[in-house]
Amino acid sequence: MNRRARLSVFGLGAAGLAVLFALALAGMPDFGTSDHPYRDLAVPAAVAHDTANVVSSVNFDQRALDTLGEEVILLSAVVGATALLRPTPHETQRPPAPGGRVLDGTILMAYLLLPLTTLIGLDVVVHGHLTPGGGFQGGVVLATALHLLYLAGRYESLARLRPLDWYVWVEGSSAASFAGIGLVGLGLGSGFLANVAPHGSFQNLLSAGTVPILNVVTGGAVAGGAVVLLAQFLNQALGTTPQAAQKSAG
């Protein structure tokens, strides 16, 4: 189809969908309604398991199977992207050249921010059952902290801090642990992914049973996964050259 025809087909379809959506909205409850049946069940369920962050309770306790699926999607995408971005026989992986000159201030900033962001990341992970955030958000923060070194032009130190195999192992073993913890619940007869650990006391660091454990495991999986993922893109952007275009080795 040419551009005109394509737009016409799309326009017809979009108009139809708009009508459908408008008709559907006529039957929707008002925005901001106080009628939320699932919420009315989820909040007491979270409190019963001493989890102050109800979203974490839904994610890691009540609907933990969804989150297991989410972790596996993450794992699959990381493995998939690694496979898709592998250097082909016609490409060479050169050690990245030290980046251009970077202002001293930037380097200083990055080095100061690195420990700080790492701490924030860890904090977000371990308090996932109490405050907003959790394994996922904290994991990405941890992975990003590492990449501040790239911002500072220190790609070599990044490469040293990043023996990629380790991160693959961290990711793989974390994802396996998530499923494994689920199987423990099954083995104890409480059900797959059941919250079998002692619940502790509400709003305490030691509370919510398996929720913080799964949060930490997720943090590991996400941090490892995000580092591996970004490494693939960094290698492509900075390290891989087709053999023909290669001028001098390393």
Binding site: A18, H36, V54, V55, V58, L130, P132
Partner: protein
């Protein structure tokens, strides 16, 4: 007001699809797809909103109450965000390889899968 939130969600999905349709570069199509998906988060969170309710996190000292916005849609949106990021990552990886093998990213010039 009530309809605005839902309408914005629908708008993002359609405008994202339009962006994919019009794109002259697959990176642009990938980004447009992620815009389309952001419509789904907006939709989910709009459904779970409640006027003058607080976030579903009971910080220390605050007693548990039912007057919080729906935590379930938030959990769904979280999952959705991860899915979106991962699909985007795979698409970008494919885009890099398409550029390597075809030397172009313009859908109009990718002519190999015909008939």
């Amino acid at each position: 007001m009530g309809v605005l939130a839902y309408a914005v969600a629908g708008w993002l999905v359609i405008v994202g699809a339009l962006g994919m349709l019009r794109s002259r570069n697959l990176v642009q199509a990938t980004v447009a797809l992620s815009v389309a998906q952001s419509g789904t988060y907006v939709f989910l969170l709009a459904i779970g909103y409640q006027w003058s309710a607080t976030a579903p996190v009971f910080s220390s000292g605050s007693p548990p109450t039912n007057q919080v916005v729906d935590p379930v849609v938030q959990a769904m949106a979280l999952t959705d965000i991860v899915v979106s990021a991962m699909v985007t990552a795979l698409l970008l990886a494919l885009t890099i390889q398409i550029e390597k093998t075809h030397r172009t990213l313009d859908p109009d010039e990718l002519q190999r899968l015909k008939g």
